[in-house]
């Protein structure tokens, strides 16, 4: 099943024999793979291969029928999404989530984890601490927006920016949560080529700075250029894993994409 | 009263709840929001029938203790409820640019408007249809069943309407489209179903059945501007019990909730006979399972079902 999976010494995310079925149909079928720390790992597969289901299982949005998920060596199987996030795994969503009534920087500020001001009591007992961390977070948010070259959007309503810009903001916000591993669900779907290139550069830059990525993407050129290794999912299980070159030339992968994977 | 007696009452009351819950469920799945004005749609049906019946009178003969004029009034009640619902959809809901929660809140406003208009016109007091009250059917009294011919009429008409709906859903083009839309609105739209039209028919059918339920409720108890709103939560309980979006679930849920409601006095007898320990628990339970709490029991069942099986008792269980 997981034949072709590469050995991983320092895995930040380990998925072992994960299973999930809906109404008798196996959406995730004994999936096993790992994400090595410091990599940009791509997750590809034909439509209906179960990529999004797998993301939902890993991030705690679905409860698996069997198997385990480990983040940083901790078993997070069956945990709530916020608990999985607390262990360092942050995800984004395929469709940009619009935040009504929030400005871009406000939406960004939801990102940092464990803010003192998120405790109701602290707001009244220790407003100084709240102000301090808030200033720090705001400065950090503005710095990341600058890095992403979208600082001019900071005080724009989050609903008024383009879908591509929203994708950038989502990535930026996720970075504020300081993830050990960041799961990106189709980061460039519906994004124009210029912005897509910008996103690619940012992901690469952030990766060089130490963030591990696992990304689902349909844009083959994008994923082949960015990710290594690449995990291929077909009908809920891992078909193979390898370098972009290796995957591209793998007959089984081509079969799967042509719909003859069985 | 005997168990049979309670069961008979339950059957009659269930008929009314089923008529209400089908419409609520249809609108919930096809128009995609919890319609808090559904109870007051029932009230509209009841009062329209009241006015019609007052105007046309008996019209000669009678069936099951009910004059012909009453059946005409029933048809008018159904029609008015349907027309009002369609007008509301066209004038209010359709032009709105809000999500399903916004529609839910709007529907409360609509409910108040319906009720206020009725209350301004008819006052807040109870009224009755001008039909002669009947004595219980003699042949059944020895069994402890005290139902009148009117009750039989309610049950019979409800069964006829439900069977009619079943035929419509299963054997007509409209019914197939409605089921498709209830299952998956997006898929229905892309596969070329004119969803707006199906939605309008949903309102016609849902509100029409609610109107009939309202007329029967008025006959079973009496009429008051709050009658529908008071029943709304019981109907929601039925819809949720059956699983939102499933018409047949709503029928089953309506049947069960109606039965539980009318069987409460019987349950309270049963509880008294049970050896419940410790004693304080027995006291609490005996205290809660009384006729005063008949509706409260339905609401608690509803909340429990929402928690344990959000898809209804026949659904796929918790997700």
């Amino acid at each position: 099943m997981s034949e072709g999976a590469l050995p991983k010494e320092d895995a930040v995310l380990r998925v072992d024999d994960l299973q999930k079925s809906f109404g008798g149909l196996a959406a995730t079928d004994h999936a096993t793979f790992a994400v090595e720390r410091g990599t940009i790992t791509g997750l590809i597969g034909p439509n209906g291969a179960g990529k999004s289901t797998l993301f939902n299982l890993i991030s705690g949005f679905y409860e698996p029928d069997g198997g385990t998920v480990e983040v940083n060596g901790t078993d997070v199987t069956g945990m709530e999404p916020y608990q999985v996030a607390e262990h360092g795994l942050i995800r984004t969503f395929q469709t940009p989530r619009k935040l009504e009534g929030m400005t871009v920087r406000e939406a960004m500020l939801v990102g940092p984890r464990k803010q003192p001001g998120e405790s109701f009591l602290t707001l009244f007992t220790s407003p100084g601490t709240v102000a301090e961390s808030e200033s720090a977070n705001l400065a950090e948010a503005e710095r990341i927006l600058e890095d992403f070259e979208i600082d001019h959007l900071a005080t724009q309503p989050a609903t008024d920016i383009s879908g591509g810009q929203m994708k950038l903001v989502e990535l930026a916000r996720a970075m504020l949560a300081e993830p050990e591993v960041l799961l990106l669900d189709e980061p460039v779907a519906g994004v124009n080529p210029t912005l897509a290139k910008k996103l690619k550069d940012q992901i690469r830059r952030l990766n060089e700075q130490g963030t591990t990525f696992l990304l689902i993407e349909h844009d083959m050129e994008f994923v082949m250029d960015l990710a290594d290794p690449i995990v291929v999912l077909d009908q809920g299980h891992v078909l193979t894993e390898g370098t972009p070159e290796g995957v591209r030339n793998d007959d089984r992968v081509i079969d799967a994409y042509l719909g003859g994977g069985t | 009263m005997t168990v049979l007696g309670y069961l008979a009452n339950g059957l009659v009351f269930s008929s009314i709840i089923v008529l209400g819950s089908i419409g609520l469920s249809l609108v919930y799945s096809i128009a995609d929001f919890a319609n808090f004005a559904h109870g007051d749609t029932m009230t509209i049906g009841a009062y329209s029938a009241l006015v019609t019946f007052g105007a046309v009178g008996g019209l000669g003969g009678a069936v099951l203790g009910l004059p012909y004029g009453f059946f005409l009034a029933l048809v008018v009640g159904i029609a008015v409820a349907a027309v009002v619902a369609v007008a509301t959809e066209k004038l209010i809901y359709e032009p709105l640019d809000v999500d399903s929660i916004g529609l839910l809140i709007t529907s409360i406003g609509i409910a108040f408007i319906y009720r206020a208009v009725i209350q301004i016109r008819f006052g807040s007091d109870f009224t009755r249809f001008d039909v002669r009250p009947l004595r219980p059917i003699e042949a059944l009294v020895p069994y402890g069943v005290r139902i009148t011919l009117h009750d039989v009429a309610i049950f019979g008409s409800a069964v006829a309407l439900v069977v009619g709906l079943h035929v419509l859903l299963q054997y007509t083009d409209l019914g197939r489209k409605m089921r498709a839309m209830a299952d998956n609105p997006d898929l229905a739209r892309v596969s070329g179903i004119r969803t707006k039209r199906v939605k309008l028919w949903t309102w016609v059918i849902g509100a029409g059945l609610a109107g009939a339920g309202g007329v029967f409720l008025g006959l079973f108890n009496q009429l008051a501007p709050r009658m529908g709103f008071n029943l709304l939560l019981v109907i929601f309980a039925a819809v949720i019990l059956g699983g939102i979006g499933s018409v047949y679930g709503a029928m089953a849920g309506g049947f069960l909730i109606g039965m539980i409601n009318q069987l409460t006095p019987f349950f309270s007898n049963v509880v008294e006979a049970l050896p419940i320990r410790p004693n304080w628990l027995a006291t609490v339970i005996e205290n809660m399972i009384t006729i005063e709490y008949a509706n409260a029991i339905a609401f608690v069942i509803m909340v429990v079902v929402l928690l344990v099986r959000p898809n209804g008792i026949a659904g796929e269980g918790a997700t």
């Binding site: 949005f61 709530e80 999404p81 916020y82 996030a85 995800r91 989530r97 935040l99 009504e100 920087r105 500020l109 939801v110 990102g111 984890r113 803010q115 998120e118 109701f120 707001l123 009244f124 407003p127 709240v130 102000a131 808030e134 200033s135 977070n137 705001l138 400065a139 950090e140 503005e142 710095r143 005080t155 504020l176 949560a177 300081e178 | 919890a34 709105l96 640019d97 399903s100 929660i101 916004g102 839910l104 809140i105 409360i108 406003g109 609509i110 108040f112 009720r115 206020a116 208009v117 209350q119 301004i120 807040s124 939560l233 929601f236 949720i240 709490y293 409260a296 909340v303 929402l306 928690l307």
Partner: protein, 393 residues
Amino acid sequence: MSLLDDPKAAFADLSRPEGWVLGVSVAFVLFLFVAMLTGALGPTYFLFLVGLAGMYALLSFGLNAQWGFTGLINFSVAAFFGIGAYGTALMTASGSPIAGGFSPLVGLAVALVVALALALLIGIPTLRLRADYLAIASLGLAEVVRLIVLNERWLTNGSAGLRGIPGFFDGWPVLSTFPEAMPGLRLEVIPGSPVILETAFWQASLNVLLVLAFAGAAYFVLRRAHRSPWGRVLRTIRSDEDLARALGKNTYSFKMQSFVLGSLIMALAGVFYAHLNLYVGPGDLDPITTFYAWVAVILGGSGSNRGALFGGIVIVTIREGTRFLNDVALPIDPAPLRLLLIGVVIVAVMRYRPQGVLPPQRELIWPSAVGGGGTPETPDSGVRERKGGGDDE
């Protein structure tokens, strides 16, 4: 608030709806004031109206903390209002079947504790539910509470209600005898129609003081809590709960906090009501109270505390205006007229201004972090440096 610091700038800052609301409110208060001075409106009644407006504003604050902040559809406002009123009444009223005779402060404490317990009881099962299920379940549970109050005579006196509730300041030093101690004043602004201020007037002004204290405290807490990381998480949950979860927020806990906070404020409104009306009955748990609060919040602007205040005033206008109309002009029963107005306002708001008249405009960022002019200085230890990711610019 800012009006006091810098009136000119504050007025210049007003958006059109704000100016409009302010204008109408000022005109309305002036109108009432003139009516009072000319003797057309009894001064005691005027203060009663102010107290009532404060009470609805409190209810709206409470609902705003739930629906406006977090998007929780709570249809059990009336239950919390009623529990607050019954909580204090049962402790203080001479007609209480279980206790009675305690100080209103004990009543206040008991009311808040009971409301807290009820909030947990309703919140624990329902806050995991989808938004529309929460609406239905909360309305159902509110009805259960109403039925219990109506039927458990040994506890609540049933449909007879509770009489003999003291004023809130009874038994306090100075304040308890303040109304009697004040001299009767006779103002004659317009010759021939004097305005007489007597004990009842001073009693009513104490009540206004009380509701202002309650509402002021609630406003202070909500304002600070809303423009903070806490309020920001709530707004994220309102827009997209899954996103908040994905970012590591324990949304159930946040929803519970918002629910409890709002419920306590609603109970506060109930406590005030009991000591204003000096009688509570099961009718005070009628669902209509819930929808009064809803109208106030969606009309004012969900998430906006100022809006809730404005909404509270509108509700009193609807309530008392219909009564007035019935007295002088139209012989229409005020009850259905109120219902009609409420219905029309709900539909009109959803149709023409779903965001409400005064939608919240401020960013939910701790004021001192954005204020103070310009961008805040770069912090010594940036978030990423702490992590040691090698983030040198």
